[in-house]
């Protein structure tokens, strides 16, 4: 540990500013509050602050960030991540915010690493400061985040006329060597004083959990179904998102296109989003998968205390208290909520014994690439009044390389990106097919494009159907409406490898005959003796002709005989279909793990980061969209 006088510390900061090779930011006063802002002089620093308006994550994951710029004026060009001009030095970071950054590092590196975050994060220098004044809302001591032992390059402790400096990294040490003068080694009394100060910090909190924070995940588990509890706590929620937007561990974002006035150039950008906002889980068709205030309110606590705990092994709250202090109706304080929850549990001993820590191994496979590959529409087949089958070829002539059931993010530059399941089997080479219904901006625009027009493609993403595992099994395909589109990728794969599979049955239902998709292909199935095909329509209007079954999809299930032990049911349709189809399959004694589903959600980033497609602890884009029913039947938001 080192010691520096306050005058010499000011000289050190001023030297960093004058040097010009750093973007020097620190805590300054802003009105009657504090904020991290660019420093013009060390005298602006307010290291005695209580809490800043926003956490320092804004330097690595800014409120608004360009993912790439595009130019369509001369063919197409896109420019992705551009290097920051200067690395950032952040001065005055409190330990809880350091703990939060360490969590963000894991979130942004899990499976796919986010280069936009790490490019800035890795070059930065964190100069922390131990808390001198604690916000009245802060409960960092309860969360074990009032002090930290690592995660900083330098850590300051105010000792009156001097700062003790704990060196946390070589980067920090070199910075001191180059820019600071008159640094001395800490004397024993200084080291003791620092220890004493750190112990005092723990006792500064006015907000305290009445129980050890380790119990939070278990406590939540016991409270999910208590709808009265969630309704009571969320009644006054304004759905303003303040609690999540100021949170140092929140990372959800939205992705948007922003064309300039030329309409040919523009950017795709991402911007902070929040799961408390009403439309967070709403998809283009208008369906909102988390439509009520109590459900959104609960999701926030579960994401912090349970879902991320299961995924990463930490509780995603560091106790900074920003959410509490920013909530006007005073309902966002985790301490009040968790204490209330705790006191309602009659058997507290049980809670303690139930605590288990998940085994977590964070693996980074590759970097995320937000810049799509260019592709060309090579064929456009109208199927119904609202669906068109597009055949798309990647411009570099490579194969998409997808598995049946996977999806792509398709881009129309200037309009945006939409997740679409691949409709063609991987056995079809050269180009792939997407069956696209016009329901939102991107799909409406796609419908106006013509053969030869260019689109962007990212992916394939997600977990598809396990065609190898299904080999030798009897397959019962059940598709409702547009659900035939993702199923077709597997169905056609199976037909192309017909001898590898047992019986193949396809039940397909839509609202009326004119809504039937892939009509020609389905008619051709009738001439095959190795496929059993039964279509149905909910109703047949007078001016249409229909010789087959009339009734909803479930009316077909009793009409087929199959061995539930040998058969795997593969189901895809609008949300309502699952509920009834699964019930009917259960009636036929199909085991849970013989039911395979493909789910639809708002898959915005496609790589398990943006948070929009989350159903409880699951990211549909990454852990799905194909799921085994046995694995998700206990996931309350899934079906």
């Amino acid at each position: 540990m080192k010691v520096i006088s306050k005058e010499n510390f000011a000289d050190f900061i001023n030297a960093l500013i004058v040097d010009g090779s750093w973007n020097v930011v620190g805590v300054k006063s802003k009105g009657n509050k504090f904020a991290f802002e660019p420093l013009e002089s060390a005298s602006e620093l307010r290291l005695d602050y209580d809490v800043t308006l926003l956490p320092p994550k804004k330097y690595f994951f800014p409120q608004r960030e360009t993912l790439f710029t595009y130019d369509l004026s001369n063919g197409f060009s896109a420019k992705g991540l551009t290097a920051e001009a200067k690395p950032t030095i952040i001065i005055g970071v409190h330990p809880y915010d350091i703990a939060a950054l360490l969590q963000m590092d894991e979130v942004f590196s899990e499976t796919k690493s986010d280069p936009y975050y790490f490019e800035k994060r890795k070059s930065s220098i964190i100069i922390g400061v131990n808390i001198q004044n604690m916000s009245k809302w802060c409960f960092a001591p309860s969360m074990g985040c009032a002090t930290v032992e690592y995660g900083y390059d330098l850590m300051l402790t105010d000792l009156g006329n001097r700062y003790a400096i704990d060196i946390g990294s070589q980067k920090g040490e070199k910075l001191l060597e180059k820019y600071a003068q008159h640094i001395t080694n800490a004397l024993a009394r200084d080291t003791q004083l620092v220890g004493q100060k750190k112990r005092e910090i723990v006792n500064m909190a006015q907000q305290k959990l009445d129980f050890p924070a380790e119990l939070i995940p278990e406590l939540l588990k016991k409270s999910y179904e208590k709808s009265e509890f969630w309704e009571k706590h969320s009644e006054k929620c304004l759905s303003c998102g303040s609690c999540v937007l100021v949170c140092p561990t929140c990372y959800c974002f939205d992705v948007k296109d922003n064309p300039d006035l030329s309409l040919e150039r523009g950017e795709r950008m991402r911007t902070w989003d929040g799961c408390l906002l009403e439309d967070f889980a709403k998809i283009a068709s208008g369906e909102n998968f988390r439509p009520t205030k109590p459900a959104r309110y609960r999701h926030r606590y579960f994401k912090k205390g349970r879902y991320l705990f299961d995924r990463f092994g930490f509780i995603s709250c560091v106790g900074c208290g920003r959410c509490s202090s920013n909530c006007l109706p005073d309902i966002a304080n985790p301490v009040s909520l968790f204490n209330d929850m705790y006191h309602q549990i009659p058997d507290k001993e049980m809670l303690m014994t139930a605590v288990t820590t998940p085994e977590v191994k964070i693996v980074t496979e590759e970097n995320i690439d937000y810049v799509p590959r260019l592709a060309t529409i090579v064929k456009k087949v109208p199927m119904t009044a609202s669906e068109i089958l597009f055949e798309i070829r990647l411009n570099d002539d490579s194969e998409l390389g997808h598995k049946p059931g996977q999806f792509v993010e398709i881009s129309v530059f200037g309009v945006g990106e939409a997740p679409i399941s691949v409709s063609s089997s991987p056995t079809k080479k050269g180009a792939f097919e997407l069956c696209i219904r016009k329901v939102g901006n991107v799909t409406n625009k796609l419908h106006t494009l013509n053969v030869g027009d260019m689109v962007g493609v990212r992916g394939p993403f997600g977990k598809g159907f396990d065609a190898d595992f299904l080999r030798g099994k009897d397959l019962l395909f059940i598709a409702g409406g547009l659900g035939i589109a993702p199923l077709r990728s597997l169905f056609n794969y199976v037909l192309d490898n017909r001898k590898d599979y047992g019986r193949v049955i396809l039940l397909y239902g839509c609202k009326a005959p004119h809504e039937l998709l892939f009509g020609d292909e389905l008619v051709a199935l009738a001439s095959r003796d190795d496929v059993e095909f039964k279509p149905t329509v909910d109703r047949c209007p007078e001016d249409e002709v229909w010789a087959g079954n009339i009734g909803v999809i479930t009316t077909l299930i009793p009409q087929v005989d199959f061995d539930p032990e040998k058969t795997f049911a593969i189901v895809c349709g609008p949300p309502i279909v699952y509920k009834f189809v699964i019930a009917d399959l259960k009636r036929k004694n199909v085991p849970d793990d013989h039911i395979i589903l493909s789910l639809e959600r708002r898959m915005k980033c496609g790589v398990g980061k943006c948070g929009h497609c989350q159903i409880n602890q699951i990211y549909v884009c990454k852990d799905g969209p194909v799921f085994n029913y046995a694995k998700i039947k206990g996931v309350p938001e899934a079906l």
């Binding site: 904020a35 006035l261 009403e278 920013n326 006007l328 409406n444």
Partner: protein, 245 residues
Amino acid sequence: MKPKVAFFDFAGCEGDQLQVANLEEELLTLLGHVEVVSFREVMKEHSDNYDIAFIEGSCTRLQDEDRLKQIRKNAKIVVAIGSCATIGGINCIRNYKDLDEVRKTVYGENAKLFDTYAARPINAVIPVDAYVHGCPITKDEFLHVVKSLLLGKKPDIPNYPVCVECKKNENVCAFERGQFCVGPVTRAGCNSCCVNEGTICWGCRGLVDNPNENAHKEVLIKYGLTVDDAISKFRLYFGWQEGKK
């Protein structure tokens, strides 16, 4: 062929059209994409042959309805611009008063000559395809809406409150400054421009789709407003949306 564009005004201050006129250089770029056939504030010519109609101002008289219906008939796309047109705006304050009194206040002894009825937004009379909210509208959002229409997409108008933008802009909350604000129930999209300048949100963009009005009135009262003051905060812009017709 470039889409033909026309501007129309009803009861309002024409401040929104002024914002469009103030686009200056950007207006010239915009003219590369559209042809303006009617815009009283900046040109003499007028034509009834247009694709996109931008309408400013509230509908305040029965006879205005005919004109609005004619515009709707002529245009493929109708865009309401500014609070008076999008949500009824401050014109609707008078809906809380006796309309005869209102007429007398404005026209004195000639009041009888001027017909009137409860002020209302454009979509209370004709279907509206897109909205540029605000009092006045901002240039950026006007351009966003125009670009979206030209690209054939639905403009991205937030359905979350101004608080979201205040937080992103790292503003000190108006309530923390001892002021009172209706940002928590007001539709964002203005980039919290008023609060950024140290004032409050007055609510000019109207309520979000599902505002928690009662909870916010409680907040206003908790922070020290009287019930009457809290109610008048809501009446400034939200009159029509709160059902005062």
